[in-house]
Symmetry: D2
Subunit: 287 residues, 4 copies
């Protein structure tokens, strides 16, 4: 079938082409930003494989996705639920809801204990001014689940930047720990690492799943090198409100976050559906 | 005209009723969370008035809204532009775009210099572990614009929490400053303050404009007191992707972030259009 | 407060300005297109008032809004419900749901009987090739509710075009009737009337609430005169899918449906919330 | 990889399962409804193949998709354009825009001539009261393009219902023709056929791509048999506005349009991207 070059299917095709180039051209250093429930939505293993294959050199994520990666690493399985459940009843039953999946209160308690143990084992001097990516490497060393993103990233020396790590269930554990023990997670150190990694690279590509702070951090860090060379975003957020999450990638050119309009594309949709097909399409093109 | 109790108009009416109660019942401590370009979209003066009237006791915001508040305080006026401009040309002309408004590169440079001067004037000991709300109070003391949210909040002793302050144009200035001078902005200190403020309050209400980290921080901090008592959100984000920004408030009940389904409502729409009318409607009901 | 000229608030302000001009400049003939549950959402009385004030000369609507106007004219009140009800249970209880409002099966049965009686009273010769606007005038003559749009439009000689009238609860009654009696509702006759009304008018303005066929019919009929002179649309539909409902008005210029980009604006939002405020804002400007 | 059962990926998986059952279980009679630019977006050939394979027994579509099918059958190729073009300039150059694709004015003129020739060749008696599906069969007989949906459907005896055929570029040709020659396209006749086809079928399944009248017609016609047995919808429209296009399928249960909540699912997204993958996923499951 001849490729359609317009509308949604055209944008998907363009994204597959750009992604294949990002993966194939070894002068690219690629980052992925993830926001929204993408780990519980099934992308955990795909991103892990891309990290293992060397296609992704850095991850920028919300605290929530790290929390879920660790919950799964601890053996927790999400409960398949319903988006129209009575939330007051769920609360009483110890279940917390994300659209149609439930997280058990019990698993969150197990995560808390485990987090404390890991934090205890990190030298205090290191804890006094630690970047999120450093903290997550420490976590990765102590996790034994080959499906885990945190574990895989540590083994590969790939940083997971989580500048808003404090704003998550895991973050609550960091906060309660910090009330009794020295702990300062410093997002400015993350940013330095991100700028250092990208500054002198020949080419930088970014794959943006969802918006939020992960999208913004990875793009703004690249302003110091004149913007990224290629960018793909998959999002359901819309542009009209003016918010950054739904903003078209073209807008980022005016801020020096992206170099040119040639290698950028927005695919409108749910990343849990589209990203697996996009990855397969890009890998197919590379054969 | 008889009030419509269903569909969008019904949700708006319910929101006006809840907001009037939040403003009128003095046992409420109210917070507003803002994400998206709401300050440049015109809500700056309305929120300032609500702070001055004592209706809002705490603000949780993105770094971007603080950046824009300070740009305006420094005399910068946004340029009215077009959402279909050529961003490469804008870039060459020193203009950065947010949908259909332009920010001049020059104003961002002025902000940088001013930010450095303010940071220099803050004692080094304070800078070594400062919460965003403390930092913004220091900024407020040094801003002379009665329309400014940062200024007004400082004068009223109202904290502006900006846990992701580093992720903004202003944040870049903090980062470059931190490369040469001691500066650690500590989001965990912000969270402690937020929990301390709300923990023993009889009632807490939240007004959520846009999603993102501001929405999440204000709600999660209230889990320690069993959830907020009233919540209104205005958003264009949708629920189906499962992301927190578009999540219905009901979902937050299952996480212990909101107490009950009785006093919560989501109004679908653009906060820059809806919030002014909602405020007027609430104030009218109080007469 | 100085008017904001950008983002959502700027679009709302521009819409109010254009609408005031459409109402004030007597060389304008104005049409309103309505799709989505706007009558049950409370806009019925506002549109009636605009028709009575001579601000609206033609209505283009879905069959559903006519159905609801007639249900209300027959004394039916919508039941305030919940959007998360169990629809199988509602079905058993004789309730049909539109988001959070319920229509009783009983009221639909009453409408059926009444529709048959009205159809019986229309001369057979007229029924053999009737436009929807002619049919609705016949209905209007036989409805005694001053709040009714169908009644008001008939009294004022304002046509209500309902080219998809067959695709509604009312339409089912037309279909069952047509199985036993002569009845042909001819949309091409509606179109002729619409073209005839607009063809030689000095200026035509359209107010588009929601998308669908009503939006398309009113715009495409104006291609014969080179496009409309002013257009405002309020919609939650998005542009990216390429569908006509969410398409920006600019696109319509390339089809000759709108004359120029000067007097057109899209306000993103729910018309049941935004349209009442927009009308008030336009009328205020006219003072 | 284990199937994800939640969020977007879970809904996609459920849709693939239901679709496979609809295709495989020969007691199903399946319909597809299409709204939005799906033919120009590349779904033309896929739907044709499904018709040829006997998986689809009826199509309900907007006039626009028929127009584009015929334009392509006449040799017209869409021009790949840009969504940010200047529409006034496009207009002058004889190009009409649908998001990022252009239709040439010339091709529309060729379609007009061809349409007239076909209409001339249909006996006048037939033209005086013709259903859209009958008219399209007449067109199909006179089109010689094996990729054409209209042609394929005629060869297979599959009706294409186009109840709003008059509301399209093709419809304008019908209208101008009807000013000089006898022509009445009667949507009530389409509805009779649709009810007759489904009324006594053991099982009916529907595949809903986009919303609008096609979605409503196919569902409402099935109320006479107690609702459809299985339903899948792919849409970007949202539920909150209350409009039918974005309404969840569950709502249709309360109207008797769908039998039970067991075999229905909404996949949020752009059908031009998702439908091809969904079809492949369903066909894979059948092996």
């Amino acid at each position: 079938m001849e490729a359609v070059k317009v509308l949604g299917s055209g944008r998907f095709g363009k994204a597959a082409k750009i992604l294949a180039e990002m993966f194939q051209d070894k002068s690219y250093m690629n980052f992925i930003s993830i926001a929204g429930p993408l780990v519980p939505g099934g992308l955990r293993v795909i991103i892990r494989d891309l990290v293992n294959a060397g296609h992704i050199s850095g991850i920028v994520t919300t605290g929530s996705n790290v929390t879920h990666d660790m919950l799964e690493a601890l053996g927790h399985r999400h409960v398949v639920g319903s988006e129209s459940a009575d939330d007051s009843i769920l609360r009483k039953r110890g279940l917390s809801r994300i659209y149609d999946l439930y997280v058990t209160q019990k698993s969150i308690e197990i995560l808390e204990k485990r987090t404390y143990r890991i934090l205890d084992s990190i030298p205090e001097s290191q804890r006094r001014d630690i970047a999120s990516y450093e903290l997550l490497w420490e976590f990765g060393k102590r996790i034994h689940d080959s499906n885990s993103l945190v574990r895989t990233a540590q083994l590969r020396g790939t940083p997971i930047f989580c500048p808003g790590i404090f704003d998550s269930m895991l973050g609550l554990n960091l906060w309660t720990y910090s009330r009794l023990h020295p702990l300062v997670v410093n997002p400015l150190k993350d940013f330095s690492k991100l700028v250092d990694m990208t500054y002198e690279r020949k080419k930088v590509g970014v794959l943006i799943l969802g918006g939020g702070m992960p999208k913004h951090q990875v793009l703004i860090a690249n302003t110091y090198r004149g913007g990224v060379d290629a960018a793909i975003q998959i999002t359901l957020d819309r542009a009209d409100g003016g918010g950054f999450s739904g903003a078209p990638l073209e807008e980022a050119i005016s801020w020096g976050k992206i170099k040119s309009p040639k290698k950028l594309v927005t695919v409108v949709g749910d990343a849990t559906i589209i990203f697996p097909f996009l990855t397969v399409a890009a890998l197919e093109r590379m054969k």
